[in-house]
Symmetry: C2
């Protein structure tokens, strides 16, 4: 039986590029080609694994410009059954697609709000009068191009190729070092690796009490590569903390830190230890 | 001369409700009625004060369900000239507006992505087949209602009254304790109050080095009511940290903490000390 991988679709999204890179990197002994299943939202992608409609889910976690993808963190916290199997880091290069022959006639630019935000300065300089219209994915926006030659879409080079659409401008993202981190989620226990992710709430609802949990790691020389707060949704000012460690939870001193951490937290969820796959070219999957 | 206050418009947004509550709370000796100026985006609202087109800007900072408003934090960090004059906490109650007489004919629901997310469960239960379409503000979506009787919009009760539109369902937010915090920004030095906000980057680009700055406050018994990380936008894994303290920077021991903090940070920006205005009813400004 081949592995089925749900991802935030439709085909042509950056998540699909990350999923293709992951699939290509799978050990060949897994046998047949994995089956890629596009899902319409991040929450549905994750739930398709929780409900055993797919073996794995690939979803974005964090972009170097826009920051965390809140729905990913919130959904992972709500579901208790998923572990991180791997992280994937993909460089992001946005292109402007349009049926127009030049920038001049363009009146409307469609894209996912994050992609619009990542090209904000380019848009202000090159298309100052265009109306910016948010869509649910960079690919969903493509439907507007066929009918309307005053419309443009910000999406990947891969989408241009996949849907046979003309590229009017390339690499239009304001920051050249734009990259996105993805997680591969599954129900299997994670097998270990360079990074460990976890999240917790604090008993007294005092973010001031955050110092003690962080000291647990500092005292053992465990580096925290990221901390992110999310609201508990109970009331304003109550937070969950999501932490990534540069450490493998299968090592004894890390396990000791996690045991001590549990005594300082209200609810502690450990999402597993995993390796990070860094993709060098943004054009993965363009063959 | 009356005070001009820029806010995230158009009229009918929750930010307008917060702005009206703030204006009503101003000391009467300020004389004439403040002039309220709606702006089309958060970045433009903040910039209108930086560029001295308005005296004050009211913008959302954080919602109890959706978390931080990233563009607010990013823009405040980029501009060096603004101080927080006050915080406003407003309860949020979403309503469904439509020309339809019942939920049955509704095919499309328009709103700001945060409002759609805050009513996600209600939408899944009551309108499982409706298409959800993001707009730039809860009020902008209202333009679709006149033409299309299969359209609905999620917005405030105030917008219903202001634009004379029928309310089909009230208080449809999934979490009853939904509230949003706003900041009033201006160029005057802040005058002190119960809360202090600041942000910093770390010299070694090691989020693991975050413990030392936090200990500066913990050692003095200064409670941190919030910590939020944002990407520096230089490269994935480099962060700025935004912190709110329950303390007044005009007090000597807080000043000592901030001086010590400066020795542990790369860039430190202090956005001022201010008081918090808590609004009890979500229907402010509905007169």
């Amino acid at each position: 039986m081949s592995i089925s991988i749900a991802y935030l679709g439709p085909p042509g999204t950056y998540t699909e590029a990350a999923t293709l890179a992951y699939a290509r990197d799978l050990p060949s002994e897994t046998g047949s080609q994995p089956l890629l299943c596009p899902c319409p939202s991040i929450a549905q992608t994750i739930r398709s694994v929780a409900q055993e409609q797919a073996h794995l889910a690939v979803i974005p976690v964090e972009n170097s410009i826009e920051g965390s993808v809140a729905v990913t963190l919130d959904t992972l916290w709500q579901l208790d059954t998923l572990q991180i199997q791997q992280a994937i880091v993909l460089p992001i290069r946005h292109a402007l697609l349009s049926q127009a022959l030049s920038l001049e006639p363009i009146k409307t630019v469609y894209s996912h709000p994050h992609a619009l935000a990542q090209c904000q300065k380019w848009l202000e300089n090159c298309l100052p009068n265009a109306q910016l219209v948010p869509t649910r994915s960079t690919t969903e926006a493509l439907q507007y191009l066929d009918q309307d030659h005053t419309a443009a879409v910000i999406t990947s080079q891969r989408a241009a190729q996949l849907y046979n659409l003309p590229v009017l401008a390339s690499a239009i993202n304001d920051y050249p070092d734009n990259s996105t981190r993805f997680w591969v989620l599954g129900k299997q226990p994670s097998t270990g690796g360079s990074h460990t992710s976890l999240a917790f709430s604090l008993p007294a609802n005092k973010p001031g009490a955050l110092v003690t949990p962080l000291q647990v790691f500092a005292a053992r020389g465990i580096n925290m590569s990221r901390i992110e707060s999310r609201p508990t949704k109970r009331s304003l000012g109550e937070y969950l903390f999501f932490i990534d460690l540069e450490a493998n939870a299968q090592e004894a001193f890390v396990q000791a830190a996690l045991s001590e951490l549990a005594s300082h937290t209200e609810i502690l969820k450990i999402f597993g230890s995993y390796r990070v796959l860094a993709i060098e070219s943004p054009d993965v999957g363009q063959e």
